[in-house]
C-alpha cells in the first residue's frame, strides 16, 4: 500500500517547502488528478441529454452563424477549395477547446475553494483537471466534424494523424494563461470578469470565421503572436488535407508564445500556491 511505503521518508514543512516539493507531490498525488478530472467530467455529463446536447449544439450553431456571416454575407474565400462550413468548424474545434479550458482553469481554484481550505494536495492538479473536461467536450465535437465530413463527402488526408499534436498545443496555450488567471482570481475575485471579456475579444481576433490568409502579409507576424493563429492554421492544415502550404512561421510563433505563457503562468502559480488557503 502506498500509505506504508511512504512512511520512511521524513517530510520537512517550512516556508517555501511547497514549491520545493512540488514535483514529488505531483507524482504522489497523480491519482487525485484523475479522480478530480473524472468528477468534473461526470458531473458535466450527469444529465446526459443536456451535457451532450450542450457540447454538440454550441459549436454547431456557432459554425452555422459564422458560415453565413463570413462565407455568404461577407464573401471571404475558403482554403483549398474546402466547404466554408468545414473551414469554420476546423477553427471552432481548437477555439472552443482553448476557450473552455481557459475559463474552466481560471475559475477552477475559486470553484474548489472548499477543498483548498480543508485538504492539502498540489493545487496545480485543479486547473489541470479542469482542462480534461474541455478535452472531453472536444472529443464530442470531433464527432460533429465527422458528421460534417460525411455530409460534404470530404475525405481527409494523412495530415489528420497530426491533429493530436495541435490539440495538445491548443490545450497548453490555454493552460499557461489559465494558471495565471486562476492564481489571480483566488486572490482578487473580480479578476474572473476578465475571462469572458478576453474570450469574446479573442473569438473575433482569431481567424475563426475566416482564413488567416485574409490578413495582409506584413501584419502576419504580429498577428500570429496570438497563439491561436498557429493552432488554427495547424488544425486547418490537418483537417482540410493540407493543400495549402504548411505555415511554419505561425506554428513556431504559437509554440514560442505558448511556452513563454506556460512558464509565466506556472511560476506565478507556484509562487502563490502557499497562500491560496489563506486568501481564498
Amino acid at each position: 500500500m502506498q500509505q506504508r511505503r511512504s512512511q520512511r521518508s521524513a517530510l520537512v514543512i517550512e516556508p517555501g517547502s511547497l514549491a520545493r516539493l512540488l514535483w514529488r507531490d505531483l507524482w504522489s498525488y497523480r491519482e487525485l488528478f484523475f479522480v478530480l478530472a473524472w468528477r468534473d467530467v461526470s458531473v458535466r455529463y450527469k444529465q446526459t441529454i443536456i451535457g451532450v446536447l450542450w457540447a454538440v449544439m454550441r459549436p454547431f450553431l456557432t459554425m452555422v452563424v459564422f458560415t453565413v456571416i463570413f462565407g455568404r454575407l461577407a464573401g471571404f474565400p475558403s482554403e483549398a477549395g474546402a466547404p466554408y462550413a468545414l473551414l469554420v468548424f476546423a477553427a471552432l474545434l481548437p477555439w472552443n477547446l482553448f476557450a473552455t479550458s481557459l475559463a474552466d482553469a481560471g475559475n477552477s481554484l475559486v470553484g474548489n475553494s472548499n477543498l483548498i481550505s480543508k485538504v492539502y494536495f498540489p493545487r496545480l492538479i485543479i486547473p489541470a483537471a479542469a482542462i480534461v473536461t474541455s478535452l472531453v467536450d472536444f472529443a464530442v465535437s470531433l464527432g460533429i466534424l465527422l458528421g460534417l465530413m460525411v455530409w460534404y463527402r470530404f475525405v481527409p488526408g494523412w495530415q489528420l494523424l497530426l491533429l493530436p499534436l495541435f490539440t495538445a498545443l491548443a490545450a497548453l496555450a490555454a493552460f499557461g494563461p489559465g494558471l495565471y488567471l486562476a492564481s489571480m482570481t483566488a486572490k482578487y475575485r473580480d479578476f474572473r470578469f476578465i475571462i469572458p471579456f478576453a474570450l469574446q475579444l479573442g473569438l473575433y481576433i482569431s481567424p475563426i470565421g475566416f482564413s488567416a490568409d485574409v490578413v495582409p502579409e506584413k501584419w502576419r507576424l504580429i498577428y500570429s503572436l496570438n497563439p491561436l493563429v498557429g493552432v488554427i492554421d495547424g488544425f486547418r492544415w490537418c483537417i482540410l488535407r493540407g493543400d495549402g502550404a504548411f505555415n511554419w512561421q505561425s506554428l513556431l510563433t504559437a509554440a514560442a508564445v505558448t511556452a513563454a505563457m506556460l512558464w509565466l503562468g506556472f511560476r506565478r502559480f507556484r509562487d502563490t500556491e502557499g497562500t491560496f488557503a489563506d486568501v481564498i
Binding site: Q3, E14, R39, Y188
Partner: protein, 434 residues
C-alpha cells in the same frame, strides 16, 4: 526513537488590512484604488502639516508564534484553546494546507487531515461515487478504497442508497457516509478538527469507538482539536493548550483541561468576530457578534438563577445565502455534556443583510453551573450545511445567591448542591388522594 512530529519555532502570520477587514475576500479593484487613496491621504496629511509617511493601514497578526513540541508515534494529543488561539492554524500547517511563515516541522509519516466532514462531496454524484471521490481527496488510493469499500458502506448503513445521488440523502445519511470514509483512513498521523460534533449521538459514539480502536490497536498518532473537554480527557493522553498562538501548557490531558478552565476565568460573555483576522463563516453567512444579555439589557456573563436572560447572535447573510438559515445555540457544561441545543426559526424569506437572532432562556431553568455556549448557523437542505459553528464561544455562569434562595421553593432550606444539568421548576400539584 525519533519523534513522529517535531515542530521548532513554528510561526504563521496573516496580514489583515483595515480597509478590507469586513470583506471576506479582496477584489482587484480595491487593490488598484488603494494606492491613489493612500497618496491622497498623504497629500492631505502633508497639507495639514502632519507626517507625510502615515502608518500602513495593514498589520500582521501572528496566528501562531514560536510553537515548538514533539510528538511520539502512537500518542493521542488533544489541542485545546479559545477561539483564535491558533488551533486550526496549527492543524492546517501540519497538514500542509497553509505554509508556515517561520520555523519548521519535521513529519515522519503519512498525514491525513480531517478538518471537515465530507470534504469534496459532490451532491450530484451517487454515494458510491462520493466514497471514491472523498477517499481520494483524503489521500486513499483506489486500491485502498476498493479494499475497504464494503466495510465503509456497512459502517455508514447506506447500502440501499449507494446509487442515489447524495443530494437526495437525509442529513443523517450524508454525515454517516462522510464519517465512514474518514473512519477508514489509515494514515500514520491523523489530524482531526472538531468534526465529531455533528451527527447523532449514537453515531458519534461509534466513530469515537472506531478512533479509539484504531489508535489503540495500531499505534496511530492522532492530533485532535475539540472544545468538548469530555472528549479530550477521555480520548487523549496528552493535551496542548494554546493561547494567543503560543503554547501555554503541554502535558497530561486532564491537567491541560483544568488549565484551560482556570485560565478561562473571566471568559467572554460577548465576542466580536469582526475583530478577528479571518471572518468566521462562509459564502452564505458570517458571524459578527455573540453575547449574553440579562433581563435588564446589560451584557453580562453572570446570571442569577432566578432570572431569565437572552443569548444573541448577530450575523450577516450574503447575497448567495439560501432562504432559511437555522441559527442555534448549544449549551455544554464543563464535563462536556450537552445541556441542550436550541434552534431558532427566523422568517423564511431573508434577504442579504445583517440579522440578530435572540434566544430567550427563562429563569429557574438552568442549574447553578458554568455553561459554554456554541454559536452556530446551519442550513438543512441537500444535507447539512454549517456556515459557522463557534464552539464554546461564550461562557455563562449561572449563580444561585443562596442567602436569598435558601428559603424559596427551589431550596426550601437545603443549602447543599442540587444535582442535574438543569434545575427547572415544573408545575407540581399535591392533592389529598384518599
Amino acid at each position: 526513537m525519533l519523534p513522529i512530529i517535531s515542530a521548532e519555532g513554528l510561526g504563521k502570520t496573516y496580514r489583515i488590512s483595515h480597509l478590507t477587514r469586513t470583506e471576506s475576500y479582496r477584489t482587484f479593484r480595491e487593490e488598484l484604488m488603494r494606492k491613489p487613496a493612500r497618496l491622497w491621504q498623504r497629500a492631505k496629511n502633508a497639507l495639514h502639516g502632519g507626517a507625510v509617511l502615515a502608518a500602513e493601514t495593514s498589520e500582521d497578526i501572528w496566528a501562531l508564534r514560536d510553537v515548538s513540541f514533539s510528538i511520539d508515534a502512537g500518542e493521542v494529543v488533544g489541542i485545546i484553546g479559545r477561539n483564535g488561539a491558533g488551533k486550526t492554524t496549527l492543524l492546517k500547517v501540519l497538514s500542509r494546507i497553509t505554509e508556515p511563515s517561520a520555523g519548521r516541522v519535521t513529519v515522519s509519516g503519512r498525514v491525513a487531515s480531517l478538518l471537515e466532514v465530507g470534504t469534496g462531496f459532490h451532491p450530484e454524484l451517487t454515494g458510491r461515487e462520493n466514497i471514491f471521490l472523498n477517499g481520494a481527496i483524503l489521500g486513499m488510493t483506489r486500491a485502498d478504497i476498493r479494499e475497504r469499500f464494503d466495510e465503509i458502506v456497512a459502517f455508514a448503513e447506506v447500502e440501499k442508497f449507494l446509487d442515489t445521488p447524495v443530494k437526495r440523502y437525509s442529513s443523517g445519511m450524508y454525515v454517516r457516509l462522510a464519517f465512514a470514509v474518514a473512519a477508514h483512513l489509515e494514515p500514520d498521523i491523523l489530524v482531526v478538527d472538531e468534526v465529531l460534533a455533528v451527527g447523532d449521538a449514537q453515531f458519534q459514539k461509534k466513530c469515537l469507538g472506531k478512533m479509539r480502536e484504531v489508535s489503540g490497536r495500531e499505534g496511530r498518532t492522532v492530533l485532535f482539536v475539540s472544545h468538548q473537554m469530555g472528549m479530550i480527557t477521555s480520548l487523549c493522553s496528552r493535551g496542548i493548550l494554546l493561547e494567543g498562538g503560543q503554547i501555554a501548557f503541554d502535558g497530561g490531558a486532564a491537567e491541560a483541561v483544568a488549565k484551560y478552565y482556570t485560565r478561562s476565568d473571566g471568559a467572554p460573555f460577548a465576542v466580536d468576530y469582526t475583530k478577528l483576522a479571518k471572518a468566521v463563516g462562509d459564502q452564505f453567512a458570517t458571524l459578527q457578534q455573540a453575547w449574553i444579555e440579562d433581563a435588564n439589557g446589560q451584557r453580562t456573563g453572570e446570571i442569577d438563577i432566578r432570572s431569565g436572560f437572552e443569548i444573541r447572535m448577530r450575523y450577516r447573510l450574503h447575497d448567495k445565502s439560501p432562504k432559511s438559515p437555522a441559527p442555534q445555540f448549544h449549551l455544554y457544561n464543563a464535563q462536556g455534556i450537552c445541556a441542550f441545543a436550541t434552534v431558532g426559526e427566523p422568517p423564511t424569506e431573508m434577504v442579504e443583510g445583517v440579522y440578530e437572532s435572540r434566544c430567550r432562556i427563562p429563569g429557574n431553568f438552568l442549574n447553578n453551573d458554568t455553561y459554554f455556549v456554541d454559536v452556530a448557523l446551519a442550513y438543512y437542505h441537500a444535507g447539512v450545511h454549517v456556515s459557522f459553528h463557534e464552539r464554546g464561544a461564550l461562557t455563562l455562569v449561572i449563580f444561585d445567591p443562596i442567602e436569598e434562595t435558601l428559603n424559596t421553593r427551589s431550596r426550601r432550606g437545603y443549602s447543599g448542591p442540587v444535582g442535574g444539568i438543569v434545575r427547572p421548576q415544573f408545575n407540581w400539584e399535591t392533592v389529598r388522594a384518599s
